[in-house]
């Protein structure tokens, strides 16, 4: 999941380390009730924070992105790296409840039941959230293409 969210080995290692550090420092060394759920949620949050930081940094030094935007649209479509990066960027902008579901379902490939247990919601709610998240992502991707 971390690899799919971040797509960069060094970042994956950092996020992994941060996740387990947070687990180690969880309320003075106590063990969380659901360790697996805790790890998944923490890893997800850490990775998204890193992704956001990366995007912000890239925006600051935006020369590369400006040149990227000058590329013609058919070339953009073929550029899977560009697609991946824009999807990652949009996923990081989703509201937390939708983002968690989409990352756990599509990037970590967990079942709805597992997602429900991790997030403390029902499987049906997870399904609805994912559908909503996909609609929003589609809308944003469409808008970006119009630009």
């Amino acid at each position: 999941m971390l690899w799919r969210i971040l797509g960069n080995e060094q970042d994956v290692c950092d996020a992994y380390q941060n996740t387990f550090l947070q687990l180690a420092h969880y309320e003075g060394g106590q063990r969380p009730e659901h360790v697996k759920a805790y790890i998944f949620r923490t890893a997800n949050n850490v990775a998204i924070s890193m992704l956001r930081r990366r995007i912000a940094e890239r925006k600051r030094m935006s020369t590369a992105i400006v040149t990227g935007k000058n590329v013609t649209s058919p070339a953009k479509e073929l550029d899977s790296k560009y697609l991946q990066e824009s999807l990652r960027c949009f996923i990081s902008q989703l509201p937390a409840h939708l983002r968690n579901v989409i990352t756990l379902r599509d990037l970590a490939e967990l079942s709805y039941a597992q997602i429900g247990r991790i997030l403390g919601i029902s499987a049906a709610t997870a399904r609805v959230y994912r559908c909503k998240a996909l609609q929003i992502l589609t809308m944003w991707m469409g808008k970006e293409e119009e630009k």
Binding site: G7, C13, Q17
Partner: protein, 186 residues
Amino acid sequence: MTGINKNNKCRRIRGWLSDAISRHFDPPTAGFNRNPALLGDANWLQKHITNCPRCQRRLLSYGKVNLAISAIKSQPHKLDLLMCANAQAIGVLKHSLRRAQKARKLRTIRPEPKLRERFGKYASSTANIAACIAIMLLMKFGVFSSMDTFQTQGQKVIKQYYASRIGDDLADEVFPKDTNSLSNLI
């Protein structure tokens, strides 16, 4: 009027798209092929999409999201990624923990494919064999039951023939009602 109709169609298509995508997240056309409710409407659906720029854009965007997710999923990583991540995480632990046996194991661990992925390639052949066995069993039962029917029908016909030729009494003697005794006679 046509504008209203077009909007309704757009809404229906939007609903189907969301439905198909939320269930399978396959390309929308694949969703259409699987949904029998959509098959009947495939013609007007295609016609509508060819003429409606909004639906075209929507389809294109769904396709793009699908493509991006597939690309992210299929992006390969080095096999030793887990090993590196573990090594880095263990690196911040205190000395005694770093030297522990479990830490040593974690430093060299590699991701193992899930059982489902490992045996996934055999799934289709196993399913084929199971289907063959099921068909053979069904055939076997079918053949036996038809043989039984054939035998009883044949007996009836022969009994009728004898009854018409030599009379009911003698026919009953030759073909008693109890089938067990008949088989004993044979």
